[in-house]
Amino acid sequence: MPFRGALLAPAAAHKCCSIHGPPRSCHFGKIKGNGHIEIAATLLLILVLAPFAGSLVAICVPAHKGTASAWLSGSIALFCLAISAGLYPIVAAHKVLRYDINWLPELGLNFSLRMDGFAWMFASLITAIGLLVVIYARYYMSANDPVPRFFALFLAFMGAMLGMVLSGNLILLAIFWELTSIISFLLIGYWHHNANARDGARMALTVTGTGGLCMFVGLMLIGHIVGSYDLDVVLSSGNLIRNDPLYTPVLILILLGVLTKSAQFPFHFWLPHAMAAPTPVSAYLHSATLVKAGVFLLIRLWPVMAGTDQWFWLVGLAGLSTLLLGAYFAIFQQDLKGLLAYSTISHLGLITVLLSLGSPLAAVAAIFHTMNHATFKASLFMAAGIIDHETGTRDMRKLSGLFKYMPITATLAMVASASMAGVPLLNGFLSKEMFFAEAIETHKYNLLDTLTPYVATLASMFAVTYSLRFIYSVFFGPPPQDLLKTPHEPPHWMLAPIYFLVFSCLVVGVIPALTIGPFLHTAVQSVLGEATPVYSLAVWHGWNLPLFMSLIALVGGIGLFFIMRPYLATSIEGPPFFRRLEGQRIFERVLVTLSWKWARSIEMRAGTRRLQPQMRILVGVALLAGAVTLLSQGFKPANIILRNIDPAFALLWLVGMVCAVGAAYQAKFHRLAALVLLGGAGLVTCITFVWLSAPDLAATQLLVEIVTTVLILLGLRWLPKRIEDPDDQLMTISTRLRRLRDLGFAVFAGLGMMLISYTIMSREMPETISSYFLERAYGEGGGTNVVNVILVDFRGFDTLGEIAVLCIVALTVFALLLRFRPATESLEAPEQQRVQNAFDDDHPDRKKGDSIAEYLLVPSVIMRWMFPVIGMLAAFLFFRGHDLPGGGFAAGIAMSIAFILQYMAGGTRWVEERLRIHPLRWMAIGLIVATATGLGSWVFGYPFLTSHAQYVSLPIIGKIPLASAILFDLGVFSLVLGATVLILIALAHQSVRAPRAQIRAAKLAAKENT
């Protein structure tokens, strides 16, 4: 009988591959018979999953097989690059490739991948530079490092990055975004024995993680405004977003994410510290991918968010200050990688400024510069890594004249830095010219817009200075002094990636329209759509203002370098004045204040480690929450009707109440009395269940009551003796007040519960889902005992969870008691046993222990013979459970009582000589049987824990219900039995261990005496 458990309604995985285009038009839905599109969509999924799969494989490669993991990573990167290249014809036709799996459609969260021209450009950048960096890292990484871990993380990062750029859903995008932050943390901290690496990694994670969290909120707000998290829907709702009153908070939140990730001022300080990472990581993460994620999102959302004044000011200010400060700081770095880091910050600022302008032409320039920067910066990082590798230092004060030793590296680095400086005939020049042209244009009439061209020229001048410095101080001048080794050219393959990148810089710089042109156009078209402007990628635009700005920057930059050269040759790290304002120190001070000082002072003032005040707060808050809700919603207590009260029931509860109050009163000084009274209250509860037509509950309550009483009785032995109540007169006033307050709490809680329960119980029953169960229990669950059918069938998954909890509790009890050391004062034999032993000693015809053995002889014989009887009862309870009151729970507990009775009758040793009890095995079997029954329904193609019911006639016993649920119930039975017996036996065993502890204590005392 197919049945769907209420908890188990997995959304049917609905797959849909579709293609739709042109961008931001309506959904075409699924195109039938378009086979190659479906394959392409599947390829999209493979493109994202392959790096993660490779990462899992790489982490299993043994640490010394570094080359194998490099080959693996290289082939994965190549594979992804090939997929990406193969998908180009589809995106080139201005179509959007989609792959959708419904994941949590109720929350608007679908696993949708989406590739348009812009995403394609980024995916190719990630895979291509990924491949080059893998080749480079293969030679860079030392054999002493755990290389497979590096490549595993590297691949995972590539997957996260691909997932981020290909996400078709904002939430999914945020998930991959966070994933890149986390993996970059692991990559920066790769050399975790190095304190700088750890600090840098932590700072990067804290800054980008906090930003990511803000961005997540911003993206959710966008989803709220638009009504969907789907990227296509969002991209077509630009006016809706820009005109929403929430636009400014959304913008600020998203910018927090973007600016932290792309290391924009004032969040730029983490990037230079992230240079503690291995150089391949810097080349990949800090030039081409991670830091570009912020820019990516900025461009992605550009069509729907840009153009407003808030956008212009926020993005523009951040970008412009980053552009200038980054370039200025870069001049004063002594560490090669530090210089490159600040240069990256500055170039990202340039892209941000372009995006702030809100003009389509500027957006084209931004996309173009994103690609150009990735190529020249990655190659420069690799060159810096080679220099570090060959000379053992990255300090520019120590390096000089390396051209003679490594001419190829030097030439390549020179071309790349020329591109970074914006020298004509290289790709950096083209996008910089576009930037200048846009900077001159007037977009808004305000100060910032007027300032932009001047700042741009100045920053460009600084860029020339630091690029020249990089080349001049490293490769020219006198031969280097005090180097640890003589530098020479690196292995050929280590240079190959740089060759390729520098070659691209050149080719794109010379013939842009023929090389990068079509790809750039595809990317631009997918972002801007119909707003795509006419732009020209020619190298020569004639004698115009941007060219003059370039010339000024070039000449000024060279001049500035020669003026500053003597100072820079010996200066300390960092720019004058600004080096005092170290971002890191501010960051750390804020962290210490927040996470240590404030947290401590709050804990000191508001926290307590004492249980009683915590309990009062807990109960107080619960009472307050209840009272406020009831009063504010106009709660009216029902009228109290004194008719129709059954006197017997009233008398029963009078006894119950006396028991409860008595237990509360006696719990301190007369523990046994309190336990008896507690049992009384439990029995009253049990009778109430019988009275009110709940036989299942009554049976279970009664059995549990017995087991609980035995359990606490076993524990009483180990509690300290409590002296009688001291004179009440001696109680201080504060104690009295405290008790009065507690009494107030208790009375208030009791009255509240009474009022609420009375009011609810005297109301009409509304329609609930109970009728559902009552109607279907027999038809679909195959049992007449609805409670049991709910437990083992309808809500079987809940029950599975519950028995798992029971299992964990039993194991915890077992483990805790294994290490149990009773207090020494509880060690000696109980008074009764001492009296009995003294009696034996006084009588010469008796041996010591005889009286103990004879004690309660008749009851113990009866108890032994009860074993089969209780076993029969348990079986009876178990089999009738599906149709009549009973079931696995009750049967399990009943059976455990049979065992514990044996312990009580014969003592631990007597039982264990005769019976082999393996409660742990029963628990394991129970859990396995219950889970396997659930899994069994999968074999027949039904959801987890689907049950099949049927009646079977057996000789003598007659017709019994044989649902597959009974197997599940058998698991419940076995586990409950095992767990209960384990708990009880573990506690009972303590009395066996006690004599041993007693002997130990006696020996210790004897030793001390001598």
């Binding site: 719990a667 309190a674 009110l692 036989p695 299942d696 009474m754 409670v787 437990l791 207090a823």
Partner: protein, 111 residues
């Protein structure tokens, strides 16, 4: 019926809450047990009190709330009883272990 039971629930709750605030671990255990009776009865009462209503269906039959008891609160309470037992057992052992380690039965591990 309802009045008596709700009064009973009230007294059980009050006794339980009073004991929760006491300093001795044993008192807290007894208090939690009393409180769990109260909560179980409260949940049970949400299905309304029915005397002599059949809790079990006729074979092949279909039940309804007018003729039968409400099975959901009963199923909930049934699991709650067993979990309550597990909780008592765990607390008892933690109590014993704490007493063994610290030498006192005060809830804070020191007088």
């Amino acid at each position: 019926m309802e009045l008596v039971l709700s009064a009973g629930i009230g007294v059980l709750t009050a006794s339980g809450v009073w004991l929760l605030f006491r300093p001795r671990t044993y008192q807290v255990i007894i208090g939690l047990s009393l409180l769990s009776y109260a909560v179980n009865l409260f949940i049970f009462g949400m299905g309304r009190l029915r005397v002599d209503a059949p809790p079990v269906l006729e074979p092949g039959g279909v039940g309804g709330l007018l003729t039968h008891t409400d099975p959901i609160p009963q199923a909930l309470v049934l699991t709650a009883i067993v979990i309550g037992f597990a909780m008592t057992a765990l607390f008892l052992v933690v109590l014993l272990a704490s007493r063994g380690f610290t030498g006192t039965d005060h809830v804070d591990g020191r007088e």
